[in-house]
Subunit: 162 residues, 2 copies
DNA sequence: CTATTTGCAAATAATTTGCCCATGG
DNA sequence: CCATGGGCAAATTATTTGCAAATAG
């Protein structure tokens, strides 16, 4: 990632920590920096290995704890929106998914307009695209009505920053 | 799922098994049926519990083995396209993902046209949508050039059935 | 019959937790 | 200071594997 982007992200990190009263420890900064620097959507283990080069005493548990914290703070997202394990789909017809960001439920979504989605430009890096699938992220009715009562939810989880 | 859809899927299952010379065992059929019946994109554990009601001696390992087989056969897909664990993204700017279906690498994809994606109709079930994210599934350059040498790849993994 | 597939148990991998010590503000 | 966070080890959860016995074709 370019130095200017990394610095922008580190500033966002600092601001968010200050705002939420989180200690900007050595470890926490290094973990976030490793994430901010990477292009490859790393898994926790990869972040751990990377941070360990600078802070050899770091523990994997600390990496996991901080990743969770960052996601709650809205500094980080999980790719694909389902952590943990297999979610399976026997529906081979063209369809898309509604994903509840709160309870992680997934509902099939048939929509002609979404079926027409195509990129406006050639894909970077000579990727060969077979199909497009749209994820609509939001809140399911059950979680909508619980909104506002939820604990530990700070801000920034959902929107786009620009 | 409606009975007619389930039967359609069971026929597809039977055909694929015959075609590939797979034994259509009692267990295998029950596992696939449980998947075909479900609306909720279940995890392996949920399938196991469901099948266990009909075949109390079924083992969780059998469920896992068959799920893998079905995915290889193209009878089943994983939602979100990344199995296993956390893939993290510190990029909060609006962007989409190119996902390699073979090696599971994920590359950020900036595209104005994809940023404009919206559903053509109200979302089912009163879901409240915050943002849309597009996944473009395909092959990265490295996997493209390895194409054809790959073992255990039968067919049907990538396309849409209609 | 005989090649596959199952069930079990054990192995491995991934993630979380509890607790006591260290440190940032 | 002293509340928050870190490190370690143990616990939990998720997934895979090896192998003898069962069974589909």
């Amino acid at each position: 990632m370019s130095p200017s982007v990394i610095e922008k992200r580190m500033r966002l990190f600092g601001d968010r920590c200050a705002e939420l009263g989180l200690a900007a420890t050595h470890q926490r900064r290094a973990i976030y920096r490793a994430l901010a620097e990477s292009e490859r959507h790393p898994q926790p283990e990869a972040i751990y290995r990377r941070v360990k080069r600078r802070i050899p005493t770091i523990s994997l548990a600390t990496v996991y704890k901080n990743i969770k914290t960052f996601v709650e703070m809205g500094l980080l997202r999980e790719v694909g929106c389902e952590a943990g394990s297999y979610r399976l789909d026997a529906n081979l017809d063209r369809h898309h998914h509604l994903v509840c960001v709160n309870c992680k439920s997934v509902v099939d979504f048939y929509d002609r307009k979404l079926d027409q989605v195509r990129a406006g430009q050639a894909s970077p890096g000579n990727f060969r695209i077979f199909r497009y699938q749209v994820e609509a992220l939001g809140l399911c009715p059950a979680c909508r009505s619980k909104q506002g009562l939820r604990k530990n939810k700070k801000r920034g989880q959902y929107g786009q920053s620009r």
